[in-house]
């Protein structure tokens, strides 16, 4: 099994956590999204029509979109399960995951920040304010969801789920960009717990083989 991904991509990071939690070995294939390797015709046509990272390859089967990959991994390698089977608990896990994957991450990812710089000529301060605005709005929602529905040591219960696979990379990204996350104590507790967990640690950007990519 191959994972085509980039060390500093939050969506790649999500899938690396899921693979590490399940103990699934994989070949790490770096795709440098800074130089646009994810747009190369061969990559797009043969591996990932979404023209993005990550892409998982298992024999003849290839799949893009991090949350689709984790759902597929949950069927292929059921232990430990990351998306609960119980209808209502599952809904809570997906709700928080989508808040991050749909409402926070996409507006702050590399391609959007680059468009702001190159097409709209925003200043460094305007770009930073943009980033902080969507983090603040989204993390407030995450914190409210955890306050209302969160239980146990992780987001939902005493074992990591898809919600934790989404939350930790998003917070790591925000901290790297200089955001203050002290006003989100429930989220921070999960983040700190993850920092001592072997699977989350193994998936961290700084430990990936392409982490020195300029």
């Amino acid at each position: 099994m191959q994972l085509h991904n980039f060390f500093n991509s939050s969506t790649s990071y999500r899938v690396r956590i899921a693979l590490a939690l399940k103990g699934v070995p994989f070949d790490y294939v770096p795709v440098n999204i800074r130089t646009g390797e994810h747009r190369d015709a061969k990559y797009v046509n043969q591996l990932n029509p979404s023209a993005a990272v990550p892409a998982l390859i298992d024999g003849d089967f290839s799949l893009g979109q991090s949350l689709a990959i984790i759902d597929w991994l949950d069927a292929r390698f059921p232990e430990p399960r990351l998306i609960p089977a119980d209808r209502d608990l599952r809904a809570r896990v997906l709700e928080l995951s989508y808040l991050i994957a749909c409402d926070i991450h996409p507006v702050n990812n590399l391609r959007v920040l680059r468009y702001l710089e190159t097409e709209l000529n925003v200043t460094a301060e305007q770009k930073s304010a943009w980033y902080r605005h969507w983090i603040a709005e989204g993390m407030a929602g995450v914190e409210r969801l955890l306050g209302k529905y969160g239980t146990g040591l992780w987001c939902f219960g005493d074992a990591p789920t898809l919600a934790d696979c989404c939350l930790v990379p998003q917070m790591a990204n925000a901290l790297r960009m200089g955001c203050d996350l002290d006003t989100y104590p429930l989220s921070l507790a999960v983040y700190r717990r993850a920092s001592t967990h072997h699977a989350f640690a193994a998936a961290a950007p700084a430990l990936q083989p392409d982490c020195a990519t300029p």
Copy 2:
């Protein structure tokens, strides 16, 4: 069952299609996102901590995030199933759904377009170019996915799935914003099929009770 939603919201539209496909009756509760009703403290604290539309209420259970709602509906009202059980087919449906829900829709929704106008003072032409840029990039990916993996009368097979529930509102939104979608023939074929289907027609913005909202 209540659906708190807004006629012109693409994420609300997705859930309305799912409910209509399953034939589930619901009370339509309008939430005017143009005037910020989705940020009212009572709505956020009691119904949807994500501070967004849609929110589904079923007795004591409330749930935000359109894709989490449709996943939940698929368990609560299994016929017709919108997210296939088969592992690999399910992956294809989710992959295309996430391309729309994560990569296209979030960067072009109301709150982002408003930020561009009010905080970054972009011109009408710059805002329009922004919108068209992300539609072109995302729809090219949708079209590639359909070309490589699409089958049958709808996106994946001869019955609508979650992918169709996501694609049709996204295309309706793009057409409303003046985008030319003629270069995406596979997507257009699905859109045209949907326009003659009773469930998609019933969910259309123009037929909702709040469609005259200024």
